[in-house]
């Protein structure tokens, strides 16, 4: 079992690298965004909301695209695109919901930034919504990492 698990055709290596690298940068970017956005909800500066918004827009979102592109490529190589296997279902499920949540969190933090610029204060509810969504995203991606590593059937 452990031997079978580590044998992989060479042609799968590059798509797997792109998938894993994208996922790692994405999770790192989400934690970075969360650190800024939670600081903003505690009466943090305009700078914190701006940094949280930019972390989502310029790091987490592009990294998500790289992760998903790699996922599609490796799934195609492994003939798993139409698979009913549980771990593939968890992966695609988290990825689909994750895409939606990243977009909503980015919009919420962008609106919080605009409001904070107008009132020269904290982003208030928008920053809290974005921070909460990012926290949910991080939790979902830990579940996805578990599913990808343990491959439950």
């Amino acid at each position: 079992m452990s031997l079978l698990a580590v044998v992989r055709p060479d042609a799968w290596d590059l798509p797997l690298f792109i998938h894993v690298f994208g996922a790692m940068v994405m999770v790192g970017s989400l934690v970075l965004a969360a650190s800024y956005l939670f600081a903003a909800t505690r009466g943090g500066s305009l700078e914190a909301i701006n940094a949280g918004f930019r972390s989502l827009l310029y790091a987490a979102l592009p990294a998500f695209i790289v992760m998903r592109a790699g996922a599609e490529w490796i799934a195609d190589k492994e003939n798993l695109k139409n698979s009913n296997v549980t771990w593939i279902g968890i992966g695609y499920g988290v990825s689909d919901v994750g895409a939606l949540l990243i977009i909503v969190a980015t919009i919420a933090s962008g609106l919080a930034l605009r409001r904070a610029r107008r009132s020269e204060g904290s982003g208030g509810r928008g920053a809290m919504v974005a921070a909460s969504l990012v926290a949910v995203l991080i939790t979902l991606y830990v579940v996805a990492i578990w599913a990808m590593a343990t491959k439950p059937t």
Partner: protein
């Protein structure tokens, strides 16, 4: 056992990227407060312990791996290099936050990018496993 070890090893690698991204953002001009620095610092220490413990455990557990395989020794060498580069980057950022900064931002960036390259190099070795 194999899948649990792999999950914990992989999770440690993801946590290492928290530090890579946070320090990377800092050297690219993003702000870093004391809380952010602390998150990055704790992540680096936790991931380092996890990568080493679960990585070596995996190498001992999987029959087709040996601890002296070239790709594993290469990863360990890169891990040591990443730790050294990370220590310099950490020192520079800490001094900068304390206001006692002697290291320039370009020097901190150099250490940070070297650490990033080392960690990405480990990822490459873990996936391609040359010689395995």
């Amino acid at each position: 056992v194999y899948h649990t070890l792999l999950f914990l090893h992989l999770l440690s690698a993801f946590i290492a990227f928290v530090t890579i991204v946070m320090f990377g953002a800092y050297v690219l001009g993003a702000p870093m407060g004391k809380v952010g620095f602390r998150i990055a610092d704790i992540s680096w220490n936790v991931s380092g312990a996890g990568l080493l413990i679960f990585g070596i455990w995996l190498a001992l557990y999987v029959k087709s791996y040996e601890i002296w395989d070239g790709w594993i020794l290469g990863a360990l060498a890169l891990f040591v290099a990443a730790s050294a580069f990370g220590a310099w980057a950490h020192k520079g950022v800490r001094e900068s936050l304390d206001g006692s900064g002697e290291m320039s931002i370009s020097r901190i960036a150099a250490w940070q990018w070297l650490r990033t390259l080392s960690i990405v190099g480990i990822l490459v070795l873990m996936i391609w496993k040359p010689g395995a």
